[in-house]
Structure formats: structure tokens, C-alpha cells
């Protein structure tokens, strides 16, 4: 008898194993899943409020307080000088735009390619885009000498008939970042509508009810509404990919079109795009690890398979980054321009040379050593550390490109080191603001696109062919 039950048990355990592994094969009733998401939004411990209060204080003092002081006193309170006219503010700008990249990348590219593992975390990634761009905007305005006149950068009709200079990469930047912010916000909002409607229908009353009522735009779930929504999401998913590539390419042109040694590199466009994806992927995985550990019911939605899948992407992107880095370095070095030579020597052997080596270790060596192993990259905390290190490395990369490269120029008499001043509290302030916005959002909107998860689960099923359990998928979209 034992011999007949064995295969049955085996088949059962295989099914259970698959179910445990894959969210798409582990369906729960819709009502239950919706309740889980609502509970994750509402369930708040005292720890949340303590962290939120600390972050809020940092934002008030570090970001708005320091910035106000800097506006009143002038940029002298920061560390910028001649020749390092651009300092940490622009490092932060490039860094935050980079972070914002991965959100759209994961969401749009994986949606276009219909990768099923994307379903539970597209929203978490898209939120990163919007909040990252907010910090990039703060950083770029902090950087300006007379920020109260920043509206002059916009092409608005005025009596003097003055127009911005569209030859300037900064004008391109402004248009690119504004386009990206608007497009990514709409792209965040579209798939949010059915979830907001779900939240509206499951909220009894109070301001939350009104909040969801307004934002859900009266979505009822009719066939016509779904068709419109799908069409709009399709258009945005395809359209936002070139926008995303253009944004970081244009950011790189700020540097690449300048006459400076080390900056004037034709490969900066793709190099910056891949660098942005590198740091952004690291940030997504950090966010997911934290969300999974701190929010209720998230262990059901975000599973080791997702860390595994993003870990693979991180490994590939790390290889891509290494390739572009090598290519950029090689061509600059081979060019033999004496100022570029001095600059490359300064990067590696100057007083901040440790940054250059640390960048290569945390951006290339550590991901390559860790992420090839499926067990390691399925562990949220191991990939959290790898993601954190990659972000440190990418920050260092931008730090090397901007303030460290600026210390060297064609006029050796002006060479001077850069020491950050008020940039430090301001940087911490933007980071705290990013986390705070994310925390607030996690309590206001469903962090998991629950309708997308349900849709995916409906499409997947397990069938038995003889003794083998096979996962089958029906085309839905």
C-alpha cells in the first residue's frame, strides 16, 4: 500500500511547494485578500509614529530649516568654491533621479514584457519614482544661487519677451524632468484607480472615505472602465520607457557636453542610464525588504521569489555597469589628453582615491560574489545589504564625477579641494523626506496592486499531466 501512496504524497508536496514558492499559484479569495491589504494600511504600531516623528523633525530642521538659512545667507554656508562650483547638491540630484529610474523600469518594462513576478511590487517601485523625483527637484533648486528667481527657467510669456536658452542642457533637463515627473505620476495613478475604488468600498466613513472617493474617480469596474484603463495603461507603459531613457541621458549631457576633462565623454548617456538602474534596483530591493518586514500581511505578497528575480536583474545590471565603466575609462585613458590623464590619476591616487576603489568593490565585486547564488539572493536581508552597498557605490560614483573631477581643471593655479558644509544636513533631510513620504503613502494607498495580483492568480493554475504537476497560464491581457 505504501508504494501507491508515495507518488500521491510526492505530488501533493510538490504542489504545496510550488504554492509556497509562487504568489501566482497561491490564490486566496478576493475578499480575504482585499481585507489583508486594508489591514496592512490601517495597522499602525507606536514604532511607526516614533520613526515618523523623528523623520519629520529631520525634514523640518535638516531640510527646510537649513535650506531657509542657506537662502538667507547665500551659498557660502555650503562647501562649494572655485573650482568646485557644483557640489553635493548635484550629486544628490543625479542620485535621486537615478533612484527614480528603477521604479518605472521595473513597472513599465516588466509590464510590457508581461513578466508575472512584477505583479505585487509595481506600485512600491512606482512610488519610488515619484518620491525620488521630488527629492531631485529639491536638490536642484537648493543648488541655485537665487532660487527665488527659478521661475525664469520656465518658458512663460513675459513683458520683456525673454525666453529661456534652449541651447543650455539645463533647459533640456528642466523639460525632461518635468515630463518624467508628470508621466510617472500619471503612470502611478492609473493602476491605482481600481485599488482606490476597492479601498473606497471597504471604508465606512470619515475623511478616508472622502479621500478614496475623490481619487477613485467614480470607478465601478464596468467592462468599459476596464477597457479604458487597460488602453491608457498600455499607452503609458510603452510611452514612458523612452521618456525614462531620455531623462537620465539628458542628465548625463549636463556633463558630457561641457568642455571639461573627464566629463566630455560620448558614452556618458548609456553609462548614466545603466548607473541609474543599478542604484534604483538596489533601492527597490531595500524598500521591498523593509516593507515585507514591517508591514502586516506583506509576507504573503512579497516572497523570496521576488528577491530572487530582482537579484538576477541586479546581477545583470551590475555587469552592464561594469562594462560601461570600463568602456568609459578605457576610451578616456587611451585618448591620452594630458588633463584627462591627470584627472584619472587624481581619481585613483588622489587623497580621495579610496572612494574610487570602494566604488568598484561595492558596485561590481560584491554583487558578483553574492548574487550568483540563488539561496543568498532569495534572502531579503542579504540582498538588502547588497542593495545598500550598491547605493553607496553609486553615490560615490556621482561624487567622483562631480566634486572630485571638478577639483582638477586646465588652470592648475585654481585647483582646490572641496569640503561639504551645509550640504550634509540637507542631504540627510532629503533622504528623511523620501522615507517619510513613503511611510505616509503606505498608510494612505494600497502598497500592493491587489487587482493585478488577483488577475495574475486567475490566469495561473496547476494541472496534472500523468504524474507531473504543470503550471499553466491563460492569456489574460
Amino acid at each position: 500500500m505504501a508504494s501507491t501512496t508515495m507518488p500521491m504524497e510526492h505530488a501533493h508536496s510538490e504542489e504545496a511547494h510550488l504554492r509556497e514558492q509562487h504568489l501566482m499559484l497561491d490564490p486566496r479569495p478576493r475578499g480575504e485578500m482585499n481585507a489583508m491589504i486594508m489591514e496592512a494600511m490601517h495597522y499602525t504600531t507606536w514604532k511607526f509614529w516614533v520613526v515618523a516623528a523623528i523623520l519629520g523633525a529631520i525634514v523640518l530642521v535638516g531640510l527646510f530649516g537649513s535650506w531657509g538659512y542657506m537662502i538667507a545667507e547665500g551659498l557660502g554656508v555650503a562647501g562649494v568654491n572655485r573650482p568646485v562650483f557644483w557640489g553635493i547638491f548635484l550629486v544628490n540630484t543625479v542620485f535621486w533621479i537615478g533612484i527614480s529610474h528603477a521604479g518605472t523600469f521595473i513597472s513599465a518594462i516588466l509590464r510590457v514584457f508581461k513578466s508575472e513576478f512584477r505583479r505585487p511590487f509595481t506600485r512600491a517601485a512606482e512610488l519610488m519614482t515619484t518620491f525620488g523625483l521630488v527629492q531631485a527637484g529639491f536638490s536642484i533648486f537648493m543648488h541655485m544661487g537665487r532660487v527665488w528667481l527659478s521661475y525664469w527657467l520656465f518658458p512663460y510669456p513675459n513683458q520683456r519677451q525673454l525666453w529661456p536658452n534652449f541651447h543650455s542642457p539645463l533647459s533640456w533637463d528642466l523639460l525632461a524632468i518635468t515630463t518624467y515627473l508628470l508621466a510617472s505620476t500619471m503612470y502611478l495613478f492609473l493602476p491605482l484607480i481600481p485599488d482606490l475604488a476597492m479601498a473606497r468600498d471597504r471604508t465606512a466613513g470619515g475623511w478616508r472615505k472622502n479621500f478614496y472617493k475623490v481619487l477613485a474617480l467614480g470607478f465601478r469596474g464596468t467592462e468599459g472602465e476596464w477597457t479604458h484603463l487597460r488602453n491608457a495603461m498600455n499607452i503609458f507603459a510603452f510611452a514612458i520607457i523612452p521618456v525614462m531613457f531620455s531623462v537620465h541621458t539628458i542628465v548625463s549631457w549636463d556633463f558630457a557636453v561641457a568642455t571639461r576633462p573627464g566629463w566630455n565623454s560620448t558614452i556618458f548617456g548609456p553609462y548614466f542610464v545603466i548607473g541609474a538602474l543599478h542604484s534604483g534596483m538596489g533601492a527597490v530591493i531595500m524598500v521591498l525588504a523593509v516593507v515585507r518586514a514591517t508591514m502586516k500581511n506583506m509576507k504573503y505578497f512579497i516572497r523570496p521569489e521576488h528577491f530572487d528575480a530582482i537579484g538576477k536583474l541586479m546581477l545583470i545590471i551590475s555587469m552592464g555597469w561594469a562594462y560601461f565603466f570600463f568602456n568609459d575609462y578605457m576610451v578616456q585613458w587611451y585618448g591620452g589628453d594630458k588633463w584627462t590623464e591627470a584627472l584619472l590619476h587624481w581619481h585613483e591616487a588622489g587623497p580621495m582615491g579610496w572612494m574610487w576603489f570602494l566604488m568598484l568593490i561595492v558596485n561590481v565585486a560584491i554583487p558578483w560574489l553574492v548574487l550568483w547564488n540563488k539561496r543568498w539572493r532569495s534572502n531579503p536581508w542579504i540582498v538588502f545589504v547588497v542593495g545598500l552597498l550598491i547605493n553607496v557605490g553609486m553615490y560615490l560614483e556621482r561624487y567622483i564625477i562631480i566634486p572630485i573631477s571638478l577639483t582638477i581643471n586646465r588652470m592648475p593655479f585654481t585647483w582646490r579641494m572641496y569640503e561639504p558644509g551645509i550640504e550634509i544636513p540637507l542631504s540627510i533631510g532629503t533622504l528623511a523626506f523620501f522615507i517619510l513620504l513613503y511611510m505616509i503613502a503606505s498608510k494612505l494607498i494600497p502598497l500592493v496592486p491587489v487587482w493585478e495580483v488577483q488577475e495574475g492568480q486567475m490566469a495561473h493554475s496547476m494541472k496534472k499531466f500523468g504524474r507531473e504537476t504543470v503550471v499553466t497560464v491563460s492569456e489574460l491581457e
Binding site: 545667507e73 547665500g74 551659498l75 557660502g76 525664469w152 525673454l162 529661456p164 543650455s168 557636453v257 588652470m411
Partner: protein
């Protein structure tokens, strides 16, 4: 002007021909003693703020002209090389101009000079990064004028506030005064009729300012010898200042 035929002369030739220029300067490094009188005169003429010891040592002094000094060899066998006065080269193809998003760094077609429109500047500092000569200076703060310097402002020059980029203008106010006078008398501005503050103050006569479009001008007469060179001319910026060394 003759139409430019790129097939005939190539891009560099085209730049050189187009770049005839109006105002220019020659600086004789063999005559320069490094006395910094030009630096002082420029500060007085152009209402340049004094930033104090601390900011100056951190690379924030606002001098529009600086005397660069270099040496060869290791201590104690050190040999001084000629002083190098450095100021805005008023490039014909200025890298600072296209990068300004608000047209604060602009080219004057009439004078063929680089101008900085102070009240249009929003302080992105892109121009200063892109200047290969590093001659642009930024008002990092609102600087106080200590007594009695607050009584010696030049009424013809704007006082700049914090957050604004500034740089040498070739004493544009003096150019305009001379042009106004010449126009009133119905003639062209004569070479040597006026000069910039730095050239005026130079005791060794190492800085000479004048008209580039007048073949008889002192600047053009001096420019003839082979010992002249232009700073970083390989960048194709077409500077308006010619340096002499080791004649």
C-alpha cells in the same frame, strides 16, 4: 563679411576668419612683475567685494583678474616661471555662453565681448564650470564693505548681491563712455583713447588694451612677433587676449 566656405578653409580657418574681433589685449609675461596693482585697480573700478581671509583661502575670492605664479623644480632648486595674469579671455566662441539656461551669459555682437547680465543670473554656476580658464567668480554671500571702502563705489558699475556670477567685462563702462564721447564728436573711438583699469594701473606696461579691428593699433602692432600665444588655443575658443613670453 565674405561668406564662409568650409570646403576651402576648414572649420578652424572659418573660426579664425570670422573672429576678427573688436576689443583685445596683449599681456607681456616677461614684463609682468607680479605686483598685483592690476588686481587692486580692477577691484576698485568694478566694485568687487572683499570676501575676507577665510573665504579667500577657500577659493572664494572675487578677483576678476588674478596673477598666477608657478615654479619649476623641487625645493630648494626652484626656478620661477613668468607670472601669468589671468582674466576673462572674452572668447569669440565662449563655452560659458550656450550653457546658461536664462541668457545671463551672452555675447555682445556689437562689441564682440562676453557679457554677464547680473540681474538675469539665477546662479546655476554652469558657466563657471564650463569656463576652461576658470575666470568666473561667484558671490557666495552678501559681503560687507568695511569702512572706508563703502565710500568709493564706482557709480557706473552695478553692485552685485549674493547668488550671482560675475567676471571681467573689459571695463565695459569705460568702453561705453569712450564710445558715447566719440559719437558726440562724430568720429570713431581712437586707439589708446582710454584703457582698462588693469592696463592703466600696470607700472610695467605689461597689459595693453586696444582695438583689434584697427591694424595700426598698439595691440595689433605688438601682436605681430612670433612669441605671442593664446591661452588653451587648442580648444578653439578664439580668445581675445594674446600672451607674450620669452621674447
Amino acid at each position: 563679411m565674405k561668406p564662409i566656405d568650409l570646403n576651402e578653409m576648414g572649420a578652424i580657418g572659418a573660426i579664425a576668419q570670422e573672429a576678427e574681433g573688436k576689443w583685445g589685449m596683449v599681456i607681456d609675461q616677461d614684463l609682468c612683475t607680479g605686483c598685483q596693482a592690476c588686481v587692486a585697480a580692477c577691484s576698485m573700478e568694478n566694485n568687487i567685494a572683499f570676501v575676507g581671509e577665510e573665504d579667500a583661502s577657500y577659493g572664494r575670492s572675487l578677483q576678476w583678474i588674478r596673477i598666477e605664479r608657478f615654479w619649476e623644480g623641487e625645493y630648494p632648486e626652484v626656478k620661477m616661471t613668468p607670472f601669468q595674469p589671468m582674466l576673462c579671455q572674452h572668447c569669440h566662441n565662449a563655452p560659458c555662453e550656450p550653457v546658461c539656461p536664462v541668457f545671463a551669459a551672452v555675447h555682445s555682437p556689437a562689441e564682440d565681448l562676453n557679457l554677464q547680465v547680473y540681474n538675469r543670473c539665477v546662479g546655476t554656476r554652469y558657466c563657471a564650470n564650463n569656463c576652461p580658464y576658470q575666470v568666473r567668480v561667484f558671490n557666495w554671500r552678501d559681503y560687507e564693505r568695511p569702512e572706508p571702502l563703502n565710500n568709493q563705489f564706482n557709480p557706473d558699475v552695478t553692485v552685485r548681491r549674493r547668488g550671482i556670477m560675475e567676471k571681467c567685462t573689459f571695463c565695459l563702462q569705460r568702453i561705453h563712455r569712450a564710445e558715447d564721447l566719440a559719437k558726440a564728436e562724430g568720429r570713431e573711438v581712437r586707439d589708446g583713447e582710454f584703457t582698462t583699469a588693469c592696463a592703466q594701473a600696470c607700472p610695467a606696461d605689461a597689459i595693453i588694451f586696444g582695438r583689434l579691428d584697427d591694424p595700426e593699433s598698439r595691440v595689433n602692432q605688438l601682436s605681430k612677433p612670433d612669441r605671442g600665444y593664446q591661452m588653451l588655443e587648442e580648444l578653439g575658443t578664439v580668445p581675445r587676449i594674446t600672451y607674450f613670453k620669452e621674447g
